[in-house]
Structure formats: C-alpha cells, structure tokens
C-alpha cells in the first residue's frame, strides 16, 4: 500500500466502521437523517426551480438574470470554500491530535501533504457540494441544459473545489509560519464572522426584493444597472459560470480557454502548496505546540455575575458561574452573539420595510395579523437560539461530567440550573423582539399585551425543551461544540420546539381572529378581551407540560446513563 493510502486509511476505516457498526440502533436515526437531508435537498431544488422559472417569464431578461444569479452563487460558494478550507487546514495540518503519531513515523512529506490536503478538501467541501447539486439540477431542468450541462458540472466541480482548498492550505501555512496557530483560529473566526455579518447586512439593506418588482424602477436601464453583479475575470467562479452558461444559455464561450485555465489552477496551486508545506510545515507545527497561557482577570465581571445569580441556591450558583465563565472564555461560543445581534437587527428591519400601505386589507387589521404571525416567527427564532445555546448545555459537560456525577448534588439541580441560566437571556431576547416589532407595527394595545404574555410563556417551554432534549440526547464525545446542535438530538429538539410554538399559536388563533374582526367591524362578533382568557389558560397548561416533560425525560435519561 502506498504511503498516501496508508495515511488516508484511518479516515476511510473510521467511516466504514461508523457506517457498518453492528449492535447499535443507528439505522432509525440514519433513516430520519437521510429523509431530512432528502427533504432539504428537495426544498432547495424546488425553491431554485421556482425562482428560475419566474426569471424565465421576464421577457428577454430571463437568461441574463439567471446568469447573474449563477455568478453570485458560485462566488458565494468560492468564498465560503476558501474560508472553510483556511480553518480546516489549520486543524488538519497543525492542530490535529494524530499529528504526533503521524509525524513521529517515517512519513514522506509529499504523502503527508496530499493526505492532509485530501482530508481538508473533503471536510470543507462536502456541504457546498451537497447544497450546490440541487441548484445545478434546477438550472439544468429549467434551461434544458441537457447531458452536456451535467457533464460540465461533473468536470468543473472537482477543480472548482480543489482551487480554494489548495489556496486555503497555502495561506494557512504562511499564517502559521508567522503567527501561533491557536491565535490564528480565533482571528480567522472573527474575520469570517464579521465578513459574514457585513455581507448579510449589505445584502439585506440593498433590498433584493426590489429586483422582482421591475415596476419599482423608473427606467429599464436603471433596472439593468441594479441587476449587475460585480464579477471578476480573474476568479474561478467566473470561469465556471462562463462554462455553465455555454451549455445553459447557449452563450458563446471559448471553452478551450476557460476549462484549461480552471484545470491549470487546480494543478498548480496544490503543487505550490506542497512545496511550501515541505519548507515550512515543521517549524509551523512546532509553533502550534506552544500552549496559550490565559491569565484570568476581570474581578468586576465576577462581581456582576455573582449579583445576577444571587437569588439562586448555592449549588445552582456554582454551576451557573462555571457555565457563564466557560461560555465567556470560549471564543467560538460567545462570538455567536454577534450573529444573533445581526439576526435581530435584520429581523426588526424587515418589519420597518413591510409594504403595509400597498395591501388591499385595512392597515390595522393587517398589523394585527402580522403581529400574530410574528409570534410564531419569534418562537421560531427563539427555538433556533435555544438549539445553539440551551440544547448543548448538558453535552458541553463532556468528559468533565464525572465531576458533577461524583459530587453531592442531585442531577435535578444540574438541569434546573441550566434551564434558568438559558431562560433568562432567551426571555430578554423574546420580549425584546416582540415588543420592538409590535412597536414598529403599531399594533393595538390588546395585541401587544397578548403577544408579550404569550412569548413569555413560550420562552419557558422553549428553554426547557432545549435543556431537557439536550439531556435526553447528550453528545459527550464531541470534538467541537458546533457538532452538538447538528446531532440527531438537535433535530428532535428543533422539531419539538417548533411543534410547541405551532400548537401555542394555533390555540390562540381563534380568539385573536374574533378580536381582529371585532376591531374591523365593531359589533359583528360582539366579543370582549375576555375571550382570550381560556386560550391563555390552555397555553399556560401547555407551557407547564412543555417545561416539566422534557426536563423529567432528560433527568431519567441522565439517571439511566449510570446503567
């Protein structure tokens, strides 16, 4: 067996063993995950197809719009791949736990480089590949690309994935050579995060929805200008788009120029990266061993935390302090708050730009209807946040769980402390979202009060489902905290949480309808505000069940783990 095959064998064998392992009930999970994946794939295909069909109906502009969209998609994929490869290469080449073993063996440097490069490419690219295939399929079916288009997809995608992987690997080697690897991960993470937030804002605030309303533009040329996307002739995404355009839109493209160009990049950059790796990898890896020493500071913060959690019992406080500090000191965890902030800003901005005046329905009625729908939406946002923060709460104990297990505290205390710790910020977020969006909508007072009470109750359920299902499906053997929400339990948690939000909204729908109609045509239904009370009582009962059941199930599961 060649050195390269030997070096890749642990990865392949791990996959094989994971897939074929017997004696465990993995197949139901796999089936559900497969179905979820298939559903997601179908959803992307359907959406992309709908958009492209709509574009096609715009007389004379369809292919141009679709081409611009293809450019944007490929450019997005390329930047995502480049960034993802930068981070993955850092792990595979410099921080991976098996490096001691591999590099202490007589491993040829080229075999080492290419095995790591393959691992980096596969790890960074599979998700982009997964998302891109239904999009390409939609393009092929709408614009009748035929077999030639799919052949080009098969030929273009490998070099398109290899180019960012090799450039990412190359840049990582240079960065590690000059900076300690553990710092780079944080720096890259922040650069990526801020770049994403800025792109997100730019995209949202440019109001892309205007593109599908050409009547909003004063002049045809103005529309065309708005539609133009910056694209560079030097980017592999542009070359790939050109190649695809030849098969999709019968665009005249010099294929003998663009494809060899793409291929030459895909051959040259790995070679360049391998030379650089042979020259600098060892010294970069040596630097990566240097442990980061973090001296603890911030006594003011300690005092603040102590004050906030003062009302809780002592053991709750101990667990809460530990959880807060661990959270605040882990860059990958607390920095997600920026994403959350961006999400809130765009969420509220969407309410500000709602074209309520263009609707044929009276403004006040529409505001109430949107505000009610917003309850479900806010519940969905809270569920997504809970998946990221509340669901992993138990799993994050990981290999350290022995400390709590061997301490004189009941597991009950552990779960409840995590529940309260997650509930408080979720409550603030939920109330803030609903209050601000309702204020922007200028809803009637009764709707504001009802929304604030409902979201208050809903948050209790969502936090408990997050923590409880997190305990029901703990994932203690994670290598990165980001794996926890994407586990099978994460999907179960999301489904339960959304079901709870949905039922809550449905329970309140009828009285809200009556009150809205009464507002629209006074005296038509002859109802007062009290009509909402039975529904609120039902929501309260539902919330109590949603709090107690998952926590109890989670407790039983943690207790059963001792078996």
């Amino acid at each position: 067996m060649s050195s390269l095959a030997i070096l890749l064998s642990p990865i392949l064998l791990s996959w094989k063993n994971e897939f074929l392992r017997k004696g465990e009930r993995k197949w139901p999970r796999r089936t559900i995950l497969f179905c979820l994946g298939l559903g997601f794939w179908a959803g992307i295909y359907w959406t992309a197809r709908r958009v492209l069909i709509y574009f096609e109906t715009v007389h004379g502009l369809g292919p141009a719009l679709a081409y611009q969209l293809l450019l944007i998609i490929l450019l997005t994929f390329l930047s995502m791949l480049l960034f993802s490869n930068l981070i993955t290469a850092l792990s595979t080449f410099f921080l991976s736990q098996d490096l001691d073993l591999v590099l202490s063996a007589p491993t040829p440097s080229a075999a080492f480089f290419y095995s790591r490069m393959i691992a980096t490419t596969v790890n960074s690219s599979w998700m982009v590949l997964f998302f891109s295939l239904p999009i390409f399929a939609a393009y092929g079916s709408v614009f009748h690309g035929g077999i030639l288009f799919y052949l080009w997809v098969i030929l273009v995608l490998p070099p398109f994935l290899i180019v960012p992987a090799s450039i990412g690997t190359l840049l990582t080697h240079l960065l590690v050579y000059f900076l300690p690897a553990r710092r780079i991960r944080d720096i890259l993470f922040f650069i990526g995060l801020f770049a994403f937030i800025i792109l997100y804002f730019l995209f949202r605030f440019s109001q892309p929805e205007r593109l599908v309303h050409p009547e909003a533009f004063g002049h045809f040329m103005e529309f065309l200008n708005a539609m133009e996307t910056p694209s560079s002739a030097y980017l592999p995404s542009s070359w790939s788009a050109e190649i695809f355009a030849s098969a999709l839109f019968q665009k005249k493209v010099d294929l003998w120029f663009f494809y060899p160009l793409l291929l030459s990049y895909a051959l040259f950059f790995p070679l360049l990266a391998s030379w650089l790796s042979a020259a600098v990898h060892l010294s970069g890896w040596s630097k990566a061993q240097e442990s980061r020493q973090g001296r603890r500071q911030g006594y003011l913060l300690d005092r603040m935390i102590n004050r906030i959690i003062h009302p809780f019992p002592e053991t709750f406080r101990a667990i809460m302090i530990k959880d807060i500090k661990t959270f605040l000191r882990d860059t990958t965890q607390w920095s997600q708050l920026f994403l959350l902030l961006a999400l809130i800003v765009v969420y509220l901005y969407n309410f500000k730009v709602l074209p309520l005046d263009r609707s044929p329905i009276p403004g006040s009625t529409l505001r109430t209807v949107i505000s009610f729908a917003n309850l479900g939406l806010a519940g969905f946002v809270l569920s997504s946040v809970a998946i990221r923060f509340a669901f992993p709460a138990v799993s994050l104990e990981g290999k350290v769980f022995w400390i709590l297990q061997s301490s004189p505290i009941a597991l009950r205390s552990l779960l409840w402390s995590k529940f309260w710790l997650n509930l408080i910020p979720l409550l603030v977020l939920g109330e803030l979202l609903v209050f601000l969006s309702n204020s922007l909508l200028r809803v009637p007072q009764w709707m504001m009060i009802l929304s604030l009470i409902t979201i208050f109750l809903m948050t209790f359920g969502i936090a408990a489902i997050g923590v409880g299902v997190g305990a029901l499906y703990p994932k203690f053997d994670y290598s990165s905290a980001a794996e926890i929400p994407t586990s099978f339990g994460g999907a179960v948690c999301m489904i339960c949480s959304i079901a709870f939000v949905g039922v809550t909204v449905v329970v309140e729908a009828w009285p809200v309808y009556l009150l809205t109609m009464e507002g629209l045509k006074p005296g038509s239904f002859n109802v007062s505000g009290w009509v909402i009370v039975p529904s609120l009582a039902a929501v309260l009962a539902l919330t109590i069940a949603a709090v107690i059941t998952p926590i109890k199930l989670g407790l039983n599961k943690l207790d059963a783990m001792r078996n």
Partner: protein, 243 residues
C-alpha cells in the same frame, strides 16, 4: 468505612465486576491491584455512583450509594484516572466550583484553597486557565479538588499516571499523612511499588473477581512466595490474565 457487598456490574453479557465484596476500615489505606481490564475503574465508578451496579451494594461511611447518594458523596473525595477538567476555568475558580458543590463555606474555602494550592505547588498558577496546565499539574489540581471538603474517604484511581518522581513522593506522603489523620483511602493502581510502600491491605482483582485480599503477609502466604516480592504474588495470582 467502605463496604462493598456482592457488587456486580455487567456490560451486556460481560461481567466487568463479579460479586465483589470487601470492607475497608477507617484510617486504612487499601490498595486495589489488578491487570488492565480487570475491573478496577468500573468498581470505582460504581463506588462513586457514576455507574449503577447490576446487583450488590456500596456503602460509604455507612451511607448506601443508591439510597443516599448525596450523603455518601459528601464525605468522599474522588480522583479519576484521567483528569478531564474545565479548561476555561482558572485553578482557583475550579476549586471554588468543586467546593461549592460540596457546600464548603466561603470562609473555609478562602482558607483552604491557598493552603492546598501551596501544598501541591500550584499557588503561582492559581489564576492561569487550566488549558495551560501540564498533565501532572491537572492531576495535582484534581487532587486539591478532591480534598477541598476534607473528605473522610478518598477514592483514587491510578494516581501516579503522569506524575514525576517528586510529585509521586509528595503523593505517597500525603496518603500516609491523611490516613494518620483518620481518612480512609481506597487506592487503585497498577504500581506494585506504590502499593507496597503505602498500603496496609491489598486486594487483587482479576476478571472482575476479587481473587485475594489481605495484608502483605497474608498475600505472601497465599502465593507461597518470599517476603518483599509483591510483584511475584501479583504475577502468580493473575497468571492467566491480560496484562
């Protein structure tokens, strides 16, 4: 002080611990020896309430681990074989956390934490995040944590892994000192020299069963070997074992 009665733990069909019974007196250092995979760590995890026994009973200080786990754990300190701890806390924060779990008063902690850190030569590292500690330092920090509430029983799993000779000497002296003050120590180890040096009684576990237990003299008699050769006793008794 420690009482195991017919303790059995099955993993599927495999009996990791099989009808194990033993008793350890107050102030005694009991060495628990066995080859790899003999069931030492499983026994300890059942003793600490981390695993539930398939059958049998564990009592620590008279408290049944299944019926009164909180009371049993409150008087016990535990040092696991692998010191996984919260990497993002500083040494002193970790000790405060464990102290709080054991309901040690703030005043007592204020006195006890520097004392322990000083004793284990970690005082200069108290404000550093644990992620920057070496393996040996983490091991010493876990020992500090296990002693923060002045336990009456100390359960230690493989204490010498990753500890340098100076640290090992410090540990042995600590065990002897604690035992002198009345702490009962249950010490699981592969290290025959450690067992010989500090333990008053030794139990040898093999394939989940306690195959021998007693003082050194009892074991020499049992294995019919000369005095001062515990290694021969161990090898003789676990001859068909997996080491």
């Amino acid at each position: 002080m420690i009482r195991l009665e017919n303790l059995t733990k099955h993993y599927g069909r495999l009996a990791a611990v099989d009808s194990l019974s033993l008793e350890v007196q107050p102030g005694e250092i009991f060495g628990f020896l066995g080859p790899n995979g003999a069931g030492k760590t499983t026994t300890i995890r059942v003793m600490m309430g981390i695993l539930r026994p398939t059958s049998g009973r564990v009592a620590l200080g008279g408290y049944d681990m299944e019926r009164e786990p909180e009371k049993a754990k409150a008087i016990t300190g535990f040092v696991p074989d692998r010191p996984f701890i919260y990497e993002k806390l500083s040494g002193s924060e970790f000790l405060k956390f464990v102290g709080s779990l054991h309901r040690v008063s703030a005043e007592a902690m204020q006195r006890r934490i520097p004392e322990l850190l000083e004793h284990f030569e970690l005082i200069h590292w108290k404000d550093e995040l644990i992620e920057s500690y070496s393996h040996g330092m983490k091991q010493r920090l876990v020992l500090c944590a296990s002693l923060i509430h002045q336990p009456r029983i100390l359960v230690v799993d493989e204490p010498m892994v990753g500890i340098d000779p100076k640290g090992a000497r410090m540990l042995k002296d600590l065990f002897l000192d604690l035992a002198k003050k009345g702490t009962t120590i249950f010490l699981s180890t592969h290290s025959i020299s450690v067992a010989e040096e500090v333990c008053q009684r030794i139990g040898i576990i093999h394939r989940g069963k306690l195959i021998a237990s007693g003082t050194m003299a009892d074991l020499y008699r049992l294995a019919r070997v000369e005095e001062g050769r515990l290694e021969s006793v161990f090898l003789d008794l676990t001859r068909d074992g997996t080491s």
